[in-house]
């Protein structure tokens, strides 16, 4: 898979892929159909593993030549040694976790750097929905309140605090809309929060 294919398929991942260095060892938590690792392997000569719980996603990863390990992230990353990876990706998965702090601590343990993304709850359409007295439903939070896999609602400001607490230093913080960075009022105008982090 090349960059333009990735950009067309997942502009958010295409933006994030810039942050992953060539020839590095990568762990992708909640890797889905393996599209990110497919790109990183074929275009950036990275090696690594995806973690995914969904049965139907496993053969899709295999079809792409991505090494995937089926497990529940809530069970932690015990099979990986300390500092086993140059970069740990946790992209649009954190908000579905029960034990957010636990997985962040594990990410810190097994990776030198991490890239974490999640839907920004402070995105302005979400704020407007709340002002109108309703839970937000948007492209980045497409579910009804009673039927959502997202257990956690966080804003860009919220996450930074927790990251610091688990031993991660924020290197870069970007808010994306449709895969493009927003610089003016990011915590209002960004629908996806993306953090590049380093072990302190």
């Amino acid at each position: 898979m090349n960059f333009s294919e990735l950009s067309a398929l997942r502009p958010d991942l295409a933006f994030i892929a810039h942050w992953v260095r060539n020839d590095t060892h990568v762990l992708d938590l909640g890797c889905g159909n393996g599209v990110m690792l497919d790109y990183l392997q074929s275009d950036k000569r990275c090696i690594g593993y995806g973690i995914e719980i969904d049965d139907s996603a496993i053969p899709l990863c295999v079809d792409r030549g991505v090494s995937v390990i089926q497990q529940d992230l809530e069970a932690g990353l015990a099979i990986f040694a300390d500092n086993a990876f140059d970069t740990v990706l946790c992209l649009s998965a954190l908000q579905m976790m029960k034990n957010v702090e636990g997985i962040l601590r594990d990410i810190t343990r097994v990776g030198r750097e991490a890239i974490v993304s999640f839907p920004n709850f402070a995105y302005w359409p979400h704020r407007v929905a709340l002002l109108r007295g309703r839970m937000p439903v948007s492209k980045s939070l497409p579910y009804d309140w009673y039927d959502t896999p997202n257990l956690r609602c966080a804003t860009i400001k919220d996450f930074e605090e927790l990251a610091n607490e688990v031993g991660l230093e924020v290197l870069e913080r970007v808010a994306l809309v449709d895969g493009k960075p927003v610089t003016f009022l990011p915590n209002w105008r960004g629908s996806l929060a993306v953090f590049r982090l380093k072990k302190k």
Binding site: I47, I58, P59, V62, D63, S67, I69, Q71, A84
Partner: protein, 383 residues
């Protein structure tokens, strides 16, 4: 679904002695095997299937019994065949019967050249590693320098895993299903109860029952019943049998009350008809002895450090014989070595037996995996 149709076994004789792990050796021996599909021009599409405890080289297709006209379907016919997850339209698949078996390869029922009588209890104890050495010799004779993959479930998975360590340059992929890097104390305990059942049967005669014209059927029955309990999950048994009664009410005697008793006895009887008691002892010992990490002070990561293959592992959540934890130990050791490894953990209810059953989630992963193996072969250009 299409099947291979009627297949036939072949056999190959080896007259170079095979040195065994125990220090003993087999002066000469025969291996019985089956092949499906066609070996391609550069011999790059061969897949070796290793069998588990009570199976054989008859992996796929059918035999038609001349006596009763009954069909005997291969034990992994849902996995191997035209259009199946391991597609015999693409791959050349070999099933080989292991030494010590009772299905054709040299075993305790065969004549011991030293005595002119059946080996019986004198057949040397063979290990997973011994089997792999013998399989490698068969591969040599068939002109296969390197397998596209070695694959097996349970004890068969141990052989595939052993291949990756013993002959790293001779397999490109290693597929290990519902297996373990070593037996637990509990696993060994079950095996020993099964062995004791056989050895304490008065018809066992210290393993030389052939010359007495008897078979230790009761021992074999009990051994099989014990084994069978470990192949099923608690859920599966509850669903299939529950506390259902054969006659609808308690009999107040020691015959068959519950359906589960009837089922296990039937399985035991069936097994005692065709399986050899000495083979059962040998194969359970091979299981007990398998422990590749042993010579590395228990460090499985070190044991797997010389592997070069890519791996696919799968386990089943209700398998308590070789539970997912055991497969994860292998995955962890491979990850520590930065090997390419995919691991599927299937939430199936059928316990250890699930590796033989149809489950789309499981079969699709294997299908996709062999799709990748095939793409690699095609990319080599000579496929």
């Amino acid at each position: 679904m299409k099947s291979l149709g009627v297949v036939a076994p072949q056999s190959m004789h080896f007259s170079t002695p095979l040195a065994l792990q125990s220090g003993a050796s087999l002066a000469d021996y025969t291996l019985v095997y089956e092949t499906y599909g066609t070996l391609n021009a550069d011999h790059s599409n061969a897949v070796l299937i290793c069998h588990a405890l009570n199976a054989s080289h008859h992996v796929a297709g059918v035999y038609v019994d001349d006596k009763d006209g009954k069909k005997h379907i291969g034990w992994w016919d849902n996995m191997v065949g035209p259009g199946k997850p391991l597609d015999t339209d693409k791959f050349f698949v070999i099933g080989v019967n292991n030494l010590g078996s009772c299905f054709g390869s040299t075993g305790p029922m065969h004549q011991n050249p030293a005595t002119g009588k059946p080996y019986g209890a004198d057949f040397p104890v063979v290990t997973v590693e011994d089997w792999v050495h013998a399989q490698a010799r068969l591969a040599d004779e068939l002109g296969i320098q390197q397998f596209a993959a070695a694959m097996g479930g349970s004890l068969g998975g141990m052989q595939a895993l052993a291949w990756s360590m013993m002959y790293p340059e001779r397999i490109r992929h290693c597929v290990v299903i519902a297996s373990t890097p070593m037996l637990s104390a509990q696993n060994i305990a079950f095996n020993d109860v099964a062995r004791q059942a056989i050895m304490s049967d008065p018809d066992f005669h210290g393993g030389h029952f052939y010359e007495h014209g008897v078979v230790p059927k009761n021992g074999l029955r009990v051994a099989r019943m014990i084994g069978h309990i470990t192949y099923l999950s608690d859920d599966d048994m509850a669903e299939k049998f529950g506390r259902d009664l054969r006659a609808g009410k308690y009999q107040f005697d020691f015959g068959i009350d519950f359906e589960i008793e009837s089922y296990l006895r039937y399985q035991g009887d069936k097994f005692a008809e065709y399986f050899d008691a000495n083979t059962y002892l040998l194969i359970t010992k091979a299981l007990d002895y398998f422990d590749p990490a042993k010579e590395f002070a228990g460090d499985l990561t070190k044991a797997l450090s010389n592997t070069t293959a890519q791996f696919l592992l799968a386990s089943f959540t209700t398998d308590w014989r070789f539970s997912p934890e055991r497969s994860r130990e292998i995955v962890q050791a491979l990850v520590n070595n930065k090997r390419k490894v995919t691991y599927a953990e299937i939430a199936a209810r059928h316990g250890h037996d699930a590796f033989l059953l149809d489950d789309a989630r499981y079969l699709n992963v294997v299908r996709s995996y062999y799709g990748q193996v095939w793409q690699e072969i095609e990319a080599r250009g000579v496929a």
